[in-house]
């Protein structure tokens, strides 16, 4: 089937304004009759729930943590983009649009990206009004910095805690609505199923993580704002609880999953220290503004970094990409680091690391300036590695970080299931095959504050409120299924822990479906994943019981979903016979190692339809048209 993203036509600068005018509105007096379920309280979910509450809708919101403020958006360090052009350095909505399309390696919809760039400016205004303490210059105006993949300075930041401050802003707006009674909060509650009635999304089934009670919430629309699935690699920069579960359950109920193979590996993370490791820690990419990446020229170099003279150092990013240098986009910087290490010039334990060196900028700007800019990152680095980044170069290595893929949505952020909307990292919409730094925060807030209030209203205006209640047979069926799978997990009583199995899956995915992929590696993964699935359902050990606070059970459910999902990810990667953005197939590269896209055959978004566990999914294509930006080889040289 050919999918239609329902993009408005006409001159791109007018698309969103025109579309906004064309959409239907809900009468203010009727808004409270509509119930909207918002799953997730990160930037996307909290901003959506708060804004919909302000509009007068009856909102229920859910998160698995004990407080909405702990969603993983909190961990974003570097910043948020906007086309304000405050520094007067040549930025514009068009340039942000252009950079995002190009950065995404021409695999995103033009109209969606345009809208994102357009509302980016409102986001900064909104956040400042909420009291987000962005960095300022001595005249009291907002400060910006540059990020990978851009030659203008458009990234707003709040020390190294931008995500935290933006999330606390959205959380405060959300809290205000909770107080006002328009939003009801359900923390420590995990969505485990989507309820679809007559083809429309009408509810969710959740487990109360404290009491274990499973129940259904019904509503007139469901918004999934549940974040990314990059924990499919086991070790990543995501929080321990981040999972594919919510969107995978929706996928199993009919929602198409788009471009799952577009995963982002972040170039600047602290290298893994040992087998026991539970997660990887990101060092903000903003560090590349002042840090220089290098490896020793000599293979197997044994000298400590500070004793290696200038002529024996290879500043490989500056050498390969003279115009972008250390600010080359993430996918390119990550692969370049891997190449150096594969070439036996890596540093640190196991040779899996490259240097990120601040020596020169400390000389130029002084240690105090560097401390002012990145102090908390240096502290974090030292806490984890016991090394002082001001004195010896940091060691970094790429790690799984973010996903561009997610549930397929149209221009209104609605999936192919009417009434099911998907926001933030959980959807596939704007980043194409690669996301630029500081653009995910922008997307989450654009979706929640400025897009969904219009598009959800448009949908609701065309439907009657309260069609499905909690005693509906579909609700009872869904509760039965969730309880059944919980019982099954608890009854296996095998010999392997959930973590052990998840680590096995993650290792396979990282090695075969990670930074670089090949036909062979993918085929092998597709062969091996079902065996892991079988082993899981035969041999996993989950102790305790279901009617209780049971973290093993939570993890077991998430792992089971990751295992099913991993197969789809690998299949998508195998079907895409090209390299683009975060998807790098070794068969498809130019002589100099750059990614070779195939626009003649793959200039489309791949949206997969679920056909059963272990069964081959069905591919639907949404062709991509580029009318405002010329399809060109993405070059950062």
């Amino acid at each position: 089937m050919i999918l239609d993203g329902k993009c408005p036509t006409g001159p791109i600068e007018k698309t969103w304004d025109k579309h906004r005018f064309d959409m239907k509105l809900v009468n203010p007096a009727n808004k409270r009759k509509y119930k909207i379920l918002v799953v997730g309280t990160g930037l996307a979910g909290a901003s959506a729930a708060a804004t919909l509450g302000e509009l007068g809708y009856n909102v229920e919101t859910f998160c698995y943590q004990d407080s909405p403020r702990r969603a993983h958006s909190i961990a974003a360090q570097g910043g948020i983009n906007a086309a304000k052009n405050y520094p007067n350095d040549g930025d514009s909505i068009f340039r942000l649009f252009y950079d995002t399309i190009k950065g995404g390696d021409f695999r995103a919809r033009e109209a969606d990206v345009w809208r994102l760039a357009q509302v980016s400016n409102n986001i900064i205004d909104q956040c400042v009004a909420q009291g987000v303490p962005f960095a300022r210059d001595y005249a009291g105006y907002l400060d910006t910095r540059s990020f990978g993949g851009a030659q203008v300075s458009r990234t707003f930041y709040a020390r190294g805690q931008t995500g935290q401050q933006l999330l606390l802003g959205a959380y405060s707006a959300l809290s205000r609505q909770i107080k006002a009674g328009t939003v009801t909060l359900f923390p420590r509650t995990e969505m485990l199923d989507l309820v679809v009635v007559d083809g429309e999304a009408k509810g969710i089934t959740v487990r109360d993580l404290v009491t274990g009670k499973v129940r259904c919430h019904t509503g007139d629309a469901v918004l999934l704002c549940t974040g990314g699935y990059v924990n499919v690699f086991y070790l990543s920069t995501n929080a321990m609880g981040c999972s594919v579960t919510a969107i995978w359950k929706a996928h199993k109920k009919g929602a198409y999953f788009a471009n799952p193979c577009y995963t982002q590996i972040h170039p600047t993370c602290i290298p893994q220290a040992g087998e026991y490791q539970s997660k990887l820690t990101l060092m903000s990419e903003s560090l590349r503004n002042d840090g220089r990446c290098w490896v020793p020229r000599k293979k197997g170099e044994k000298r400590p970094a500070n004793e290696i003279p200038e002529e024996d150092r290879d500043y490989y990013l500056e050498r390969k990409y003279p115009s972008f240098g250390n600010l080359a986009p993430r996918d390119i910087a990550s692969r370049a680091a891997k190449e150096q290490c594969d070439d036996d010039r890596g540093v640190g334990p196991g040779g899996r690391g490259v240097y990120l060196d601040f020596r020169d900028s400390i000389k130029r700007l002084g240690e105090d300036t560097i401390r002012e800019r990145y102090g908390n990152l240096f502290e974090m680095y030292e806490r984890i590695t016991d090394e002082n980044g001001y004195k010896v170069p940091m060691r970094i290595y790429p790690a799984p970080h973010y996903v561009m893929g997610g549930l397929w949505v149209d221009y209104n952020l609605m999936s192919n299931i009417p009434g099911l909307f998907v926001l933030g990292e959980a959807n596939f919409s704007v980043h194409g095959a690669n996301r630029l730094g500081a653009s995910a925060l922008m997307q989450g807030l654009a979706d929640g504050y400025f897009i969904i209030p219009y598009t959800v209203s448009h949908y609701l205006a065309q439907s009657k409120p309260g069609k499905v209640q909690e005693d509906h047979p579909e609700c009872r069926k869904s509760i039965g299924e969730v309880e059944g799978s919980t019982k099954r997990l608890l009854s296996i009583n095998g010999k392997r822990t959930v973590t052990d199995l998840m680590r096995e899956l993650g290792t396979l995915m990282w090695e075969n479906v990670g930074m670089t992929r090949s036909k062979e590696s993918l085929k092998e993964a597709i062969e091996k994943i079902p065996a892991i699935r079988e082993e899981f359902w035969k041999n996993v050990k989950v102790s305790g019981n279901g009617a209780d606070f049971n973290q093993q059970l939570e993890n077991a459910g998430r792992t089971a979903d990751f295992i099913e999902f991993a197969e789809l990810l690998a299949r998508d990667a195998l079907h895409r016979n090209e390299s683009c953005g975060g998807h790098f197939r070794v068969e498809y590269q130019y002589e100099d190692g750059e990614a070779r896209r195939d626009d003649a055959n793959y200039c489309y978004s791949a949206a997969w339809e679920f056909k059963g566990v272990g069964k081959e999914p069905e591919l639907h294509k949404e062709p991509l048209k580029f009318e405002n930006v010329h399809l060109a080889v993405r070059s950062y040289k």
Binding site: E54, D66, S67, P68, R69, R70, H72, I74, A75, K84, N122, I124, C127, V128, A129, Q130, G131, P133, A135, R136, D137, Y138, G140, L142, A158, R159, Q161, S172, A173, S175, R176, K179, P187, A239, M240, A273, G274, Y276, S278, K279, T281, L282, G348, P349, E379, M380, R383, I384, D386, E387, Y449, F450, P453, K495, T497, D500, S543, G544, F549, Q552
Partner: protein, 267 residues
């Protein structure tokens, strides 16, 4: 340097951990042994090792809250050897590393203990009271849309930095757990100070401080008697000067009595 792992031997530690089956149930300390721990294990990774063994032995693993494991979400919450987050300066327990311990050490691990934070299980507590405090006034009422341009009002760097210092709070509740009275003064003070120091937060400043102080009492938080254990325990190093600011803002609110009056009427 990091190649140490191989040189250092591994450690064996004795853990004395608070176990409690559920809210209101009788709790007790249990003893466990953590084996094969390297200096590079984080504290929570050390607990992971112990839990994996417990699971394989068919015993219930130790329940503890955690999520980001990088010191920012505020989810982790353990009292280690009597000190919330274990006593390393500006460090959450998830960022505490085992290089701070020695082979053979005995480590006591307990949940946050405060009247406002009931225990849910083992080391997990209910911190909903902190959310409640924010709901009662920890915001600027700026509806989405219709706000001025972000650069319309310059804010001095000093004010912006002061506001950011306060805004760094991760809401973990260590300050409450450290306080002999279980007060939430540092948490509340940080929020009040963050917003009151910005021009856009001043309109509601008197109502905000009055409402949040009243909510502190209703949620079961204690009073401040200037022990300042809170600052010492805070993993973000939030300064007690924000408690002074809270008190000042409260006095200011008193004078603008209209906003403050309902608080005092109740006392």
């Amino acid at each position: 340097m990091s190649a140490q792992t191989a040189e250092h031997g591994t450690m064996t530690l004795k853990l004395i951990v608070w176990r409690q089956a559920g809210p209101g149930k009788q709790g007790r300390f249990e003893t466990y042994t953590a084996k094969n721990i390297t200096p590079h294990h984080s504290f929570l990774e050390m607990l992971d090792v112990v839990n994996e063994e417990l699971i394989l032995e068919g015993k219930e693993p130790i329940a503890f809250d955690h999520d980001c494991r990088e010191g920012i979400c505020g989810m982790c919450s353990q009292v280690v050897n009597g000190v919330p987050h274990g006593g390393q300066e500006r460090t959450t327990v998830c960022q505490l590393h085992m290089r701070k311990f020695k082979d053979g050490d005995t480590i006591y691990i307990e949940p946050w203990r405060a009247r406002a934070f009931p225990i849910l299980k083992d080391l997990v507590v209910d911190r909903g009271a902190l959310d409640k405090l924010i709901q009662e006034g920890g915001y600027i009422s700026a509806r989405t849309g219709g706000v001025p341009d972000a650069n319309a009002t310059p804010i001095s760097k000093a004010d912006a930095d002061y506001s950011m210092d306060a805004a760094e709070c991760i809401g973990c509740g260590a300050c409450v757990a450290a306080c002999p009275n279980g007060a939430a003064m540092l948490f509340t003070g940080a929020k009040v100070a963050q917003l009151a120091s910005l021009p856009q937060g001043q309109v509601e400043a008197p109502v905000r401080v009055a409402d949040m102080i009243q909510a502190m009492q209703e949620c079961g938080f204690g009073n401040c008697s200037n022990h300042y254990e809170c600052q010492a325990a805070c993993p973000k190093g939030i300064d007690v000067k924000f408690i002074a600011r809270l008190n000042r803002e409260f006095l200011k609110a008193l004078f603008k009595s209209k906003a403050g009056s309902h608080v005092f009427a109740g006392e």
